[in-house]
């Protein structure tokens, strides 16, 4: 029908697959028809379609400066993600979007940025780190707090080291279970706050991870004086379309696909505290 049917996927070819952890893979993809890739901003997501299997919301984890590829980091947790991570170089997948409200990288200009990620939640935040580090002087301090289940579950390990070496940047990681060879922090990500000194009035926080982790992180940030409106979280709900037609991602009055996934904490704080919304 209409050429700009938002429900029609566009074919992308897998150019490269990187194994990040035992269950998480990064796929670099390029448009099959060689037309320019879809434009996106950090924090936006695509609906990725595996032919005959299904479609899922997956955040773009690549650099906005990469003008050729769309990159995704996928954790295999179920049917479709399993199939997605087993795609090999040369396989095709369908891409719709990008959809959603991005992280406030413009608004954050000149501010300290605290990025808090849990597990796969680092993937949607990676474009933010790329963005800031490329324009390092335009932003204040950069702090990344990253929690993973175990050292083996940490994503982007090489990059974590690179980022920690960037000027005015701190990267603190923690795990739930360390094992014998782990000499880093053990514990939930909120415990990391005691190692960083925040300048709350000039801080903007971007948080992505399991809902319960985001709830605790947001509370922690709030007790440390960061205003609710300066805390952004990325929410997750079932999505079938990405453009507000299917209704599945409703979260109170908001559609996560188009009013989110990135929300200002002050808007959704009461909903995050409630049950089964």
């Amino acid at each position: 029908m209409s050429p700009d049917d938002p429900m029609l996927p566009v074919a992308y070819r897998v150019e490269k697959v990187t194994k990040e952890t035992r269950d998480t893979f990064t796929l670099v993809t390029r448009r099959v028809d060689r037309a320019p890739r879809h434009a996106f901003e950090p924090g936006q997501f695509s609906m990725l379609y595996v032919c005959a299997v299904g479609e899922l919301p997956i955040s773009i984890s690549g650099d906005t400066a990469d003008k050729q590829n769309l990159t995704y980091t996928v954790r295999s947790v179920g049917q479709v993600t399993n199939q997605l991570v087993s795609l090999g170089v040369g396989d095709t997948l369908g891409v719709r979007g990008p959809f959603g409200v991005p992280w406030p990288v413009e608004e954050a200009r000149g501010k300290d940025v605290v990025v808090v990620a849990g597990g796969i939640g680092l993937a949607p935040l990676r474009p933010v780190l790329y963005h800031i580090l490329r324009r390092r002087e335009e932003y204040g301090r950069l702090v990344l707090l990253y929690g993973a289940r175990s050292p083996q579950d940490q994503l982007f390990r090489k990059e974590l080291t690179q980022w920690s070496q960037a000027p005015e940047s701190r990267v603190l990681t923690t795990v739930d279970y360390g094992g014998v060879n782990w000499h880093g922090h053990v514990g939930v990500v909120t415990t990391m706050f005691r190692y960083v000194r925040l300048r709350p009035e000039r801080t903007i926080a971007m948080v992505c991870g399991p809902e319960i982790m985001m709830r605790f992180v947001a509370r922690e940030l709030e007790t440390r004086g960061v205003e609710r409106s300066q805390i952004r979280v990325s929410m997750e709900r079932n999505m079938k379309c990405g453009c507000g037609f299917c209704g599945h991602c409703q979260y109170g009055p908001d559609f996560i696909c188009k009013d989110g996934p990135v929300f200002s904490y002050d808007r959704i704080q009461s909903r995050m505290e409630a049950y089964e919304i």
Partner: protein, 262 residues
């Protein structure tokens, strides 16, 4: 979708106490049967073929309920032989209509049917396969829908979760544009508490659903029973309504008892 070429999955079809209807559904997929036979290796399907390849099997389709000591042992053996075990139909998933014996004195039942009851060896109950061994997927219905069976086969081959919804028959009923028999005619209908899958057949034929796909994901049988009473149903009627082809499925079993109390 199958990206890499892989061996055709080896499939076995096994029968327990049943009417054969569910396995017949495969033969009733006339348009797809030959394509199915190309896509999977039908290794064991006595109703259709004299070839009986030994296990193990990638997929076992099990029809029927367990009603004899011998079958109770046989299902253990089959489970060990099958990587994925899929039960098909109300007998296999809930004990079937023959589970009505579970409320009765079986010996008396046998005496009622057979002149020489001593020849008959049967268990006191008819039970679902899942009461005996772990089951990977259940396909409901008395009989199953051949569309759902084909979906399970195609989805398994494609690596997709089968589209087998667990919500109510009403969802399909309304999509199909049926007139609700309960609201418009006052005909009792189990649709609201029954799992979709048949395409809301009975309401489309102007009768109430009799629950052949078993309980839906969150069956509120108490509310439906109350509504049945409003429609003038006696407690005996309500008991009978829930004691059908899925009588032994827990929510229906429970609801059929409630019928007595009121």
């Amino acid at each position: 979708m199958r990206s890499k070429s892989q061996a055709r999955p080896k499939v076995g079809v096994f029968k327990f106490a049943s009417c054969d209807g569910c396995q017949l559904s495969l033969l009733d997929a006339e348009d797809e049967l030959l394509a199915v036979a190309r896509a999977i290796d039908i290794a064991y399907f006595p109703e259709a073929s004299s070839i009986m390849k030994k296990g193990p099997y990638d997929i076992g389709l099990v029809e029927g309920s367990v009603t004899t000591h011998h079958d109770a042992e046989r299902i253990q053996h089959i489970r060990r032989q099958c990587r994925t075990l899929i039960t098909i139909g109300a007998c296999a998933t809930a004990g079937g209509i023959q589970a009505l014996r579970n409320w009765a004195e079986v010996d008396e039942f046998v005496r009622a049917v057979y002149a020489s009851p001593q020849f008959i060896s049967t268990l006191k109950t008819s039970t679902s396969i899942a009461e005996h061994v772990p089951v990977d997927f259940e396909l409901r219905g008395c009989p199953i829908s051949k569309h759902q069976l084909l979906e399970v086969i195609s989805a398994t081959l494609a690596g997709r979760k089968p589209n087998v919804p667990t919500y109510s028959v009403c969802m399909e009923c309304k999509r199909r544009g049926n007139v609700c028999t309960m609201v418009a005619h006052g005909t009792p209908c189990l649709g609201p508490v029954t799992q979709a899958g048949c395409g809301a057949l009975c309401p489309a034929y102007n009768r109430g659903c009799y629950g052949c796909f078993g309980p839906m994901e969150s069956p509120n049988t108490a509310s439906l029973s109350q509504q049945f009473r409003v429609l003038g149903q006696s407690s005996g009627d309500i008991t009978r309504a829930f004691r059908g082809f899925n009588a032994w499925a827990w929510p229906f079993r429970q609801a059929s008892g409630e019928g007595h109390r009121s």
